[in-house]
């Protein structure tokens, strides 16, 4: 395929923009930024929310704790450094290894994810936010691994541009792994929006 410059420019372009949203403040910031600085009423916005709420086992949750707890005999205090809210006796007990599941850990992780997923009201508010700016928007909620589902939807919907927030490194994921994955695998260009430091730990 040959890419050629033509006379048409960005002022005329109608783009299909997929904005990946989740519960984090960073994601809301990304949406705000995109609506203010990037998206025009000519565009069509898809707000994609990926729900990752299968019952979490200690092996396949996104927070990285699962992978850590698969390391046998990892002292619990190391996990606590990673996630201070992780319940622990503080005395240095061992986390569950591959031979056993750590029920406490599972509970901590799954209750966390219940609190932190977007409600339909939240999503409606986001759609309303777009409509306020005269921007056509639709909301889509799917289940699964956010990384793969975002890329999958971007391919399926033949999207021109992907906008994704990026969480601060210390919370939940190592380096904003969802945005990293999307950056590398996306079929279209990606804008990664980072929240300013003032938002604190998002």
């Amino acid at each position: 395929m040959v890419w050629e410059m033509d006379e048409k420019g960005a002022s005329n372009s109608k783009r299909k923009v997929l904005v990946a949203v989740d519960h984090s403040a960073g994601s809301q910031y990304a949406l705000n930024w995109a609506l203010e600085k990037l998206i025009t009423p000519r565009d069509q916005v898809i707000l994609l929310h990926v729900r990752d709420d299968e019952p979490k086992s200690s092996f396949d949750d996104e927070s990285g704790i699962g992978e850590l707890s698969a390391i046998p005999y990892l002292p619990r205090f190391i996990l606590q450094c990673w996630r201070p809210e992780f319940p622990g006796d503080g005395a240095g007990g061992f986390a569950g290894g591959p031979l056993g599941r750590n029920l406490e850990l599972e509970q901590a992780v799954s209750s966390d994810s219940e609190i932190e997923s977007l409600t339909p009201q939240d999503i409606d508010k986001m759609v309303a936010q777009c409509l306020d700016k005269q921007i056509r928007a639709e909301a889509l909620t799917v289940q699964g691994d956010p990384r793969e589902r975002i890329v999958e939807e971007a391919i399926r919907r033949d999207v021109d541009l992907l906008v994704i927030g990026s969480r601060s490194p210390m919370k939940r994921t190592l380096i904003g792994s969802v945005s990293d994955y999307c950056m590398q695998q996306s079929p279209c260009p990606v804008v990664v929006v980072k929240p300013p430091v003032q938002l604190g730990q998002v």
């Binding site: 890419w3 420019g9 960005a10 002022s11 005269q134 541009l161 990293d180």
Partner: protein, 203 residues
């Protein structure tokens, strides 16, 4: 959702008209070339990192087609490789770069910068964008992040080689570094494997 649409000629490049009243039309979206959109977006301060590679040219082309508008302030940034600097005095054995060679290297870098930036500028001008050329020298990663902070950019546009995990680990990735270290949003444009960049800038 109905949007107000206006005639092609009513909106000049470089003006961001806002605060108007939306004029609802009963027609469905006819393919009009331009619109006076009510809440059109604000102008941005954009930095585009360019180098000799095809990826950054494609990134610029894509951005000009899909993101950058004439009302935006665009900086084209080229980072030159740092000049080797050896402080070895003449008497001490060891490698040193003579003044002539160092000068020749500098001149070559300047040539490259000039070539890259003028090609990029031509592409911009085709879309009625008047870019500002910026040149800096040093490690590309850090220079881009520094420049973006100094220029107070709203958006960084950068191409990406699209390396796999192994290559990334060995060669590193400038785009990755920028995404992690720039405070502003970063647009990463990967060059699709099936695309060939045709340069019509001379035409």
């Amino acid at each position: 959702m109905e949007r107000g649409e206006a005639d092609v000629n009513s909106r000049g490049g470089g003006e961001g008209e806002r605060g108007g009243v939306s004029s609802p039309t009963g027609t469905t979206a006819a393919p009009s070339r331009e619109e006076t959109a009510v809440n059109d977006r604000k102008p941005m301060n954009v930095v585009v990192a360019v180098d000799q590679g095809e990826e950054s040219m494609y990134a610029l082309l894509w951005a000009l087609d899909f993101v950058v508008e004439p009302k935006d302030r665009v900086h084209l940034l080229h980072v030159q490789a740092p000049s080797p600097f050896f402080a070895t005095p003449q008497q001490v054995p060891g490698y040193y770069i003579s003044a002539e060679v160092s000068e020749a290297l500098r001149r070559q870098e300047e040539e490259i910068s000039r070539g890259v930036l003028s090609k990029a500028k031509t592409m911009c001008e085709k879309k009625n964008v008047q870019p500002i050329k910026e040149v800096t020298m040093g490690d590309a990663r850090e220079c881009i992040v520094d420049a973006v902070a100094q220029l107070k950019a709203n958006l960084l546009v950068i191409g990406s080689h699209g390396y796999g995990a192994l290559k990334r680990a060995f060669l590193g990735s400038v785009s990755d570094y920028c995404v992690h270290h720039c405070k502003c949003p970063v647009l990463v444009v990967r060059l699709p494997k099936d695309r060939v960049v045709v340069d019509n800038s001379e035409g």
